[in-house]
């Protein structure tokens, strides 16, 4: 870790000022990702602006979740659990209890990738002499979709997957003090060159709120992972369906940990419209979801995991859980 300035302002306005004032400033909420990046010398900001103490940024009020709300608070909410199970399930699997006490919703959405090439100082796209270290190396945890380019890390936020499936939005406070609202999926883009970020929230801006839709259908998330404790998804899917007369009227199916941005599968959604949600139709939707997968040399197994995650998220949404003993 290198020396840095530290500010912990009590209001969002003062936070904006602090972010504008220093060189190379970053926002810190729970710090569960930022601190590690700083210790590993992957990120060395000149100034860290701590926002978790800003009261207006934390807490759940009807459909609005403050960005500085801890995952523990989110998971403790009965409303979230009952009405937005996809979100609740994704959040309750993050890390472990201790981590969720510190980690925040905003921080989870804006955390940087876990890619071990990135984390060992090889850059976000991990290129060396014009060649991708990921392609040539150990890519077992990397992307299986959108793998034509050089951005082969996977988007790490499991909350983003659930929130996009639910159709949620985020509010961003711009450096000029003006607020704008965007769909969660607009928080992410695929970088094309080293130096570009996979996050669209700009320097000097603060993610302030997540806004859930008032009306939602049934939803669920399913996460395939290795360890029970403190681990990352190998593949995660969130399914959100609105049923009318027993048939799927609207479907939003999103996958995570499989592409450089949260991956929405219109193919899987299309295969379900007008059909009942059954093991057969869920299986077909899952197959459709992975049809376009182009795995790398070491992660073909993730195609199967992504497929299973979609199938299970869909069936879990309607209470058909076949995989537990």
């Amino acid at each position: 870790m290198r020396a840095f300035d530290y500010a912990s302002p009590p209001t969002a306005d003062l936070a904006l000022k602090a972010l504008a004032g220093g060189t190379d400033t970053v926002v810190m909420a729970g710090g569960t990702d930022l601190m590690n990046r700083m210790k590993d010398d992957v990120t060395s900001p000149g100034r860290v602006v701590h926002i978790a103490g800003i009261k207006t940024l934390a807490g759940i009020d009807a459909e609005t979740i403050g960005a500085a709300t801890t995952l523990a608070t989110l998971v403790a909410s009965k409303v979230i659990k009952d009405k937005y199970p996809a979100l609740w399930q994704a959040a309750s699997e993050v890390g472990a209890v201790q981590l969720r006490n510190m980690a925040t919703v905003g921080g989870n959405l804006l955390q940087r990738p876990r890619c071990w090439y990135y984390r060992t100082g090889n850059g976000l796209l991990a290129m060396k002499d014009g060649k991708s270290l990921v392609r040539a190396g150990d890519n077992r945890y990397h992307s299986i979709f959108m793998t034509e380019g050089d951005a082969l890390f996977v988007a790490p936020s499991s909350l983003a997957v659930a929130l996009i499936a639910l159709g949620a939005k985020a509010t961003i406070l711009g450096a000029d003090g003006k607020e704008r609202t965007v769909a969660i999926e607009e928080l992410y883009s695929i970088p094309k060159a080293e130096g570009e970020s996979e996050l669209t929230v700009g320097k000097g801006e603060i993610l302030t709120k997540v806004i859930l839709p008032k009306t939602v259908g049934k939803s669920a998330s399913y996460e395939a992972r290795e360890k029970e404790s403190y681990d990352w998804p190998l593949a995660i899917a969130s399914a959100h369906v609105v049923l009318e007369g027993g048939k799927v009227k609207v479907a939003r199916i999103v996958l995570g940990s499989v592409a450089p941005i949260p991956f929405r599968s219109e193919a899987a959604e299309a295969s379900l419209i007008g059909k009942a949600l059954t093991p057969e139709t869920a299986t077909a939707a899952a197959a459709a979801a992975v049809k376009s997968a182009k795995p790398l040399s070491g992660n073909a197994y993730k195609v199967k995991l992504a497929e299973v995650a979609v199938k299970r998220a869909l069936l879990a949404a309607v209470g058909q859980i076949y995989w537990e003993v």
Partner: protein, 719 residues
């Protein structure tokens, strides 16, 4: 009369809380990495970021001028070869850790990168870069054993009625000591050192410090009151310990230098990988006929990848060829039962596969092939019967792949292992009985998890009719009488006999001294329930009896005597798993560990050692793997995140069954540290295979390896 273990012990073999347990759990215990004497500086090591390089130049001038920096030491000369990421170059001591790290970054190193090989595939390729002069692959001589009348191994296989061939592989793992390697060194004048070291060998470490600085070893005190794990990797001062002492000498202040987690993975040692290309043949009834094995493994830039094979079972015809492969990836160090977990995995996978092909119960196949004249055979038979009962082998186990209707399949696996664990015969313990009734035991041994302190106290309390909490047990000081270095599962069997003798001698000396004052002959005196008995009648309290010693304590030094300890243990483990064949996720449900180790001094600590060994083994079986990047030669998971270790939610039910029988007790004390970690990963592999009906040949049993095995089998039309 030579002391012996009591026929009906009061304390020995029972469950006794560790004397230092509460201190450790509450954070009160001071670990070597907690020690910060007045003025302590922080030492940080600069290590090679490249896997293979020559040092062209080292310039520490900028670093020396940075704020807080008090000393800089350069370890390698210009022109030296660095052989792995993590290889030590130079070190800085500064007033704060941050200042030291800033200064290390300011050291200007010019490397000349050399081609590297960090995976076995890279090192064994035809045009591989040179890792080690003389070749990256060091092949040993093939060794062949044939029974009388059999001319060649092929002729032996011709007699087999069923043969399997398979290649099984387990990767390099690191020790992951919770407390990293290091020490805090403090000079007292120009020729005296005190060092608080995280070490398994206080006296070995003291000798090395003395040798490096050419000072008398009696001027060096190494203190290890408690320490956070070694697993075989902490036997000496290491380069960072010697460097800390050198920095301390230069700076005139104590220097604390412990590796960070990244360095611990890179430079703290590793358990070599193992791959076995196996051909195993048997008769129809499961009796083994022949084994042919081609094996290799890597320990990085050092040797150490050999392992026992055949393992446990009696095979009349065998041929074995092994190669050590060198890669630019760390330096192997002994790790808990070196070689045995690897050999067990490969042997037991082959046994299981052959049993499956024959349609023979894998348990019966094990029994069939135990060595007829081996003392362990009786023990294995007993342990197998107990373990099979505890896991429900007969009732619950089904043929491969047939256990479970949905995607969740249940599987059972087993493995046998063995170890030595006899004590060294040259260690001592001093026992002091003071006039105030306090009793102190001392020896220069240390506790890496054995509960050594409590073992000594239990023995003293047993003899003196007291409670373990009445005894002060001091270890971890290199200036005490010679104590056992903790390795090979030798600590308890080395220390228990001298402890018994020391206390017995002290008691006899005490009786001789106080007999006149208490109205009896020395032979009339005994101790029971905290009291002194004269001719069988309780006369006074222990404390009152001690007061009769007057002004002087009794001190006796006990040495090793025969008949109190032994070596050679068996052990059997059974595992129950479920595997989700859609996600490849393995869930451990139950692990049964049936283990013998002679006379068990502290049953609670013993159960804990067995559990701990099983936990180490389940990590080896399910999660651990060192991942190297072929292009940059870096270790990609030098952390506790993607180097995966089980957490609380990953734990299965662990059933520990001690084979604590009169026959075992009669053997005397045998070490337990290593055996329980040997068979677990092997049994897990077999359980997973039993569950899914396909052999997973690559450890660990991760979703990737399980799904890859299923996909491969399905491609070959086997599933």
């Amino acid at each position: 009369m030579a002391a012996s273990w009591p026929e009906n012990p009061r304390l020995i073999t029972t469950r006794i809380t560790r004397l230092d347990g509460m201190a450790k759990a509450s954070g009160k215990a001071k670990y070597p990495s907690d020690m910060r004497p007045e003025g302590t500086l922080f030492g940080v090591m600069l290590y090679s970021s490249l896997p293979h390089a020559t040092v062209k130049s080292i310039d520490t001038s900028a670093a020396e001028k940075m704020p807080g920096v008090k000393a800089v030491v350069v370890i390698v000369k210009e022109g030296a070869t660095l052989r792995y990421q993590g290889d030590d170059i130079a070190a800085v001591a500064a007033e704060t850790e941050e200042q030291a790290r800033d200064a290390v970054r300011a050291i200007k190193i010019v490397y000349e990168a050399l081609p590297h090989a960090v995976t076995e595939a890279q090192a064994m390729a035809a045009d591989a870069p040179v890792v080690v002069k003389g070749g990256n692959v060091k092949k040993g001589r093939a060794s062949t054993t044939l029974e009388k009348g059999t001319e060649t191994i092929d002729a032996a296989f011709a007699k087999a009625e069923s043969v399997i061939e398979g290649t099984y592989s387990v990767p390099v793992i690191t020790h992951v000591c919770l407390e990293t390697h290091g020490l805090t060194a403090m000079w007292d004048g120009p020729d005296k050192i005190v060092a608080w070291a995280s070490t398994q060998a206080v006296q070995g470490t003291a000798n090395e410090l003395a040798g490096r600085f050419q000072i008398p070893v009696s001027n060096v005190t190494v203190l290890t009151d408690v320490m956070g794990g070694g697993f075989g990797s902490k036997f000496g001062a290491d380069i960072w310990g010697l460097t800390a002492a050198e920095l301390s000498k230069k700076a005139g202040k104590p220097v604390k230098m412990f590796l960070d987690r990244i360095q611990e993975h890179l430079a703290g040692g590793n358990r070599p990988s193992a791959t076995g290309k196996i051909k195993l043949g048997a008769k129809k009834d499961g009796t083994l006929v022949a084994l042919a094995a081609e094996t290799f493994g890597t320990g990085g830039v050092s040797r150490g990848a050999q392992f026992p094979l055949p393992y446990v079972y009696s095979i009349p015809n065998t041929t074995r060829e092994h190669a050590d492969v060198f890669v630019n990836g760390g330096n192997a160090r002994a790790m808990r039962a070196p070689g045995h977990p690897e050999g067990c995995i490969i042997m037991e996978a082959a046994m299981d596969d052959l049993a499956d092909k024959l349609g023979v119960d894998p348990l019966e196949m094990r029994i069939k092939n135990l060595a007829p004249k081996d003392f362990r055979t009786e023990i294995y038979l007993e342990e197998i019967a107990i373990g099979a009962e505890l896991i429900g082998w007969k009732a619950k186990r089904k043929p491969r792949g047939k256990n479970g209707n949905g995607p969740i399949k249940t599987g059972y696996g087993m493995a046998l292992h063995q170890w030595g664990g006899a004590g060294a015969r040259d260690k001592q313990v001093t026992c002091t009985i003071n006039p105030d009734g306090s009793v102190e035991l001392r020896s220069a041994t240390q506790d890496i998890g054995t509960g050594a302190r409590t073992v000594l106290a239990i023995i003293a309390a047993e003899v003196l009719g007291l409670q373990p909490t009445d005894i002060t047990s001091n270890i971890g000081n290199s200036t005490f009488v010679p104590g056992q270095a903790s390795g090979g599962s030798t600590t308890t069997p080395s220390m228990a006999p001298p402890a018994l003798n020391a206390v017995t001698q002290a008691m006899e000396a005490m009786f001789a001294k106080i007999a006149p004052a208490v109205g009896g002959a020395a032979a009339d005196l005994s101790l029971k329930d905290g009291k002194l008995l004269v001719k069988g009648e309780a006369k006074m309290s222990w404390k009152d009896a001690c007061r009769k010693l007057g002004m002087t304590s009794i001190t006796e030094t006990g040495k090793f005597t025969d008949g109190l300890s032994a070596g050679g243990v068996a052990g059997v483990q059974f595992v129950e798993v479920t595997v989700d064949i859609e996600t490849g996720k393995v869930r451990l449900k139950k692990i049964v560990a049936v283990q013998d180790s002679g006379l068990i001094i502290n049953r609670m600590a013993w159960d804990s050692q067995v559990s701990g060994g099983v936990i180490g083994g389940l990590n080896y079986g399910l999660f651990e793997e060192r991942v190297m990047d072929p292009t940059t030669g870096q270790m990609l998971n030098a952390d506790m995140e993607l180097y995966k270790i089980a957490g609380a939610s990953d734990m299965p039910e662990i059933i520990v069954h001690a084979l604590d029988t009169p026959a075992m007790r009669a053997r005397g004390v045998i070490g337990i540290g290593e055996p329980p970690t040997i068979g677990t990963a092997a049994a897990i592999g077999n359980a997973v295979t039993n569950a899914i009906g396909v052999r997973v040949t690559q450890w660990p049993m991760s979703p990737k390896n399980v799904l890859d095995a299923l996909a491969s089998a399905s491609n070959q039309g086997k599933a």
